[in-house]
């Protein structure tokens, strides 16, 4: 079996060496200017920051897949629902929205949840489907009766600029935790329903659920303005403009030989980076502690052979639910962090290719089941994803250089942006080729 072959080939130095190589890539990106690298610290740090967020997302996916073998393809949904938190927590309240329909809206949501709970109780107590259906129907009517007017009123409230319920005006950092909680709550509901399914069937269920969550975010304007986007979400770090106007900072930058604009960009990104690193390392610490104890052993056993694990007294369903919720919470935290970094909530941008499958690529390339692997894979793949934008066209430029001028050359040069995909695909295939079990395989 190949498994033992590669495992034995992996030396303990593998991970440090790869991380060092990655660091060198970023150093080059920050300092060297050529066809491959941009030589700007701002670019390098910007890529790194998004890479760190991807790393946290990848950690969440790795918990679900690497530890427990749950194939969650609804990552985009949990990211999105986490992203809702900064909007609802940190945005200033919208004038008049609450009065227009707030209490009624809360009532509607409570009625909705109450109906579901009641339906469940009725079903378990009586075991009659029609009774449950009746409760659901009645609940639905009550819910719509409360919900629709409230939504209309809220959306009518200054609809061009707001039209949503607004936020609570709390610090945005708080929203990271709330984002995790949102995603965890959603995952709990999803898990209760869908975790009876396995593997590919679970995959398609979660894929659908991800789509549903995004569809809700896109179409429920009262919540976060839907496709109209929410902008200017507060930041936990200073604004560049303020820094540029702060003489002390300008002096400080000049001492290091940077212009104010450049330095302010770097400074802000460094601030973000520290915040992200704290979260990332905290999550890794907790994850590693859990993984390197009987809990981790139990999870591996469940992943290996559910039937046997069940026969050995492990409650497989409960454990699956636990890990699904934990992993999703981590993804939700990442979602909230991403919105904080972007300063923008744009539900249309949540597309599964980018936010589900690219994350999966990160986990697998890094080496599933290994936390450090996921981090490595995430930062690396994100780096490549961004750099492919430049490398692709440069590649085709180099390739068609010797061709004679003419239609074909013009056509190829015109299609150069699409080399982004080819470049990305080739890189991905190459990495998988040379490390078929991931860069840092599970030990």
């Amino acid at each position: 079996m190949s498994s033992n072959r590669q495992a034995s080939a992996a030396s303990p130095w593998r991970a440090p060496i790869l991380f060092a190589a990655l660091a060198v890539l970023f150093l080059l990106e920050g300092t060297v200017r050529n066809g491959l690298f941009s030589g700007s610290w701002n670019t390098a740090l910007a890529i790194l920051n998004m890479g760190l967020i991807s790393a946290i997302t990848a950690l969440g996916v790795n918990m679900q897949w690497g530890y427990a073998g749950l194939f969650n393809t609804g990552v985009v949904g949990f990211l999105a629902i986490g992203g809702l938190a900064p909007v609802l927590v940190s945005l200033p309240p919208v004038q008049g929205a609450w009065d227009a329909g707030g209490p009624r809206l809360i009532g509607a949501l409570l009625a909705g949840l109450g109906t579901l709970a009641l339906a469940k109780i009725v079903y378990t107590r009586t075991g009659r489907i029609w009774a449950m259906a009746l409760v659901l129907l009645a609940g639905l009517v009550a819910y719509r009766w409360l919900f629709d007017p409230a939504v209309l009123a809220i959306e009518a409230n200054d609809s061009a600029r707001t039209g949503n319920i607004g936020g609570l005006g709390l610090p945005v950092l708080l929203s990271w935790i709330v984002g995790g909680a949102f995603a965890a709550a959603a995952a709990w509901g999803v898990g209760k329903v869908a975790l009876g399914l396995r593997s590919d069937y679970l995959a398609i269920a979660t894929l659908g659920i991800g789509e549903i969550i995004v569809a809700v975010l896109r179409n429920e304007n009262w919540l976060a303005r839907g496709v109209m986007n929410v902008t200017s979400i507060p930041r936990p770090v200073p604004y560049e403009i303020d820094l540029q106007q702060n003489p002390a900072f300008v002096d400080f930058a000049a001492r290091w030989g940077f212009g104010a604009a450049e330095a302010s960009g770097i400074w802000v990104k460094l601030c973000y980076m520290s915040l992200f690193l704290v979260v990332l390392l905290g999550i890794i610490l907790l994850a590693e502690l859990a993984l390197k104890s009987p809990w981790g052993r139990m999870m591996r056993a469940i992943r290996d052979n559910e039937t046997a694990a069940e026969a050995m007294g492990k409650d497989v369903t409960a454990r699956h639910l636990q890990i699904f919720v934990l992993g999703s919470a981590v993804i939700g935290i990442a979602g909230a962090m991403m919105i904080t970094l972007d300063g923008l909530m744009a539900p249309n941008s949540y597309n599964p290719l980018r936010y589900t499958f690219l994350i999966w690529v990160m986990v697998i390339v890094g080496g599933s089941g290994n936390n450090w692997g996921s981090v490595l894979g995430a930062v690396l793949i994100w780096f490549l994803w961004i750099k492919a934008e430049v490398w692709g066209p440069n590649l085709i430029g180099a390739l068609v250089g010797p061709l004679p001028e003419g239609d074909i050359k013009a056509h190829l040069l015109g299609s150069a942006p699409h080399m982004r995909f080819i470049a990305m695909g080739l890189v991905l295939l190459l990495v998988l080729r040379f490390a078929p079990r991931g860069l840092v395989p599970e030990r």
Partner: protein, 277 residues
């Protein structure tokens, strides 16, 4: 796998999936065969001589192990668990690469052939585990046994059904839904369908009931006496020794004792330590 299947039946597809890839093989089907060499004078029909090797890059499991079977005879391999019996069978069948030694069949050196080509060269094999096509019907399983045959297979199939009436009744049922013993019968039936020039069986009687075991041994004797050499691994050692023309005791990948079945049965030490009293 009847006891697994039951679980998956109502909870979803787990075995054949990204999560738990059971159907995946362990043999590299892309490997090409090397050339066939000459055999040595006075060789038995099939011989794996001085075989040394192991799985992948791992440590050696076989150490200079020699197994042979003559035309018309039954050779039995016994030994403690993990002695390397299955490994020796796999080595003879080309399913792991040998570091030393050679395999010769019917006057040719086939050490470099890949398993597919050994099948074409006339070898038939029933592995110890994973030896049926679970989602295909019993009948299709038997048909797959006759995959390389071009002639009419109905006659042989009838013979197999006669031998195993229990599976004949289930010929339209998916083999994965059978009981453990029934699956074993299908697996042996599949190999019989091949009409090979040498038959290799890895614990054919594991899990089958005494009455079926007797039938099976009867059949094996008949086959062997018909000229087809049979090489098998057995844990039901007492019964197996009774019918063995040649018996090998393997211990830790090396030949420990060799002789006729009768001789080994007489050998007290062998009987006590390996054959269960």
């Amino acid at each position: 796998m009847s006891d697994q299947d039951a679980v998956f039946g109502h909870r979803g597809n787990r075995d054949r999936s990204v999560v738990n890839p059971k159907g995946r093989g362990s043999i590299d089907g892309t490997r090409r065969s090397g050339s066939v060499g000459m055999g040595q004078a006075g060789d038995p029909f099939l011989i794996g001589e001085g075989m040394t090797g192991g799985y992948g890059k791992g440590a050696d499991i076989l150490h200079d192990c020699t197994i042979a079977v003559e035309r018309g005879q039954i050779a039995v391999i016994v030994g403690p668990n993990g002695a390397g019996k299955s490994t020796a069978m796999k080595a003879i069948f080309g399913m792991l690469t040998l570091r030393k030694g050679s395999v010769r069949l019917d006057g040719r050196d086939i050490t470099a052939l890949n398993p597919q080509d050994r099948v074409k060269a006339g070898m038939g094999f029933v592995p110890q585990v994973n030896n049926i096509f679970p989602s295909m019907t019993v009948e299709e399983n038997l048909e797959m046994g006759a995959y390389i045959r071009g002639d009419d297979i109905r006659r042989t199939m009838e013979q197999v059904y006669e031998l195993f009436p229990a599976v004949a009744a289930k010929r339209r049922q998916a083999a994965g839904e059978l009981s453990g013993g029934q699956r074993q019968q299908v697996a042996v039936g599949r190999a019989l369908m091949t009409q090979p020039s040498v038959l290799m069986l890895d614990e054919p009687t594991a899990g089958v009931s005494p009455i079926v075991m007797d039938e099976l041994f009867d059949r094996i004797i008949a086959i062997a006496r018909g000229g087809l050499p049979v090489l098998m691994v057995e844990q039901n050692a007492k019964q197996a020794m009774m019918i063995a023309d040649k018996a090998y005791v393997l211990v830790q990948g090396a030949n420990a004792h060799t002789g006729t079945g009768h001789e080994l049965m007489q050998n007290d030490e062998v009987r006590r330590t390996f054959l269960g009293g």
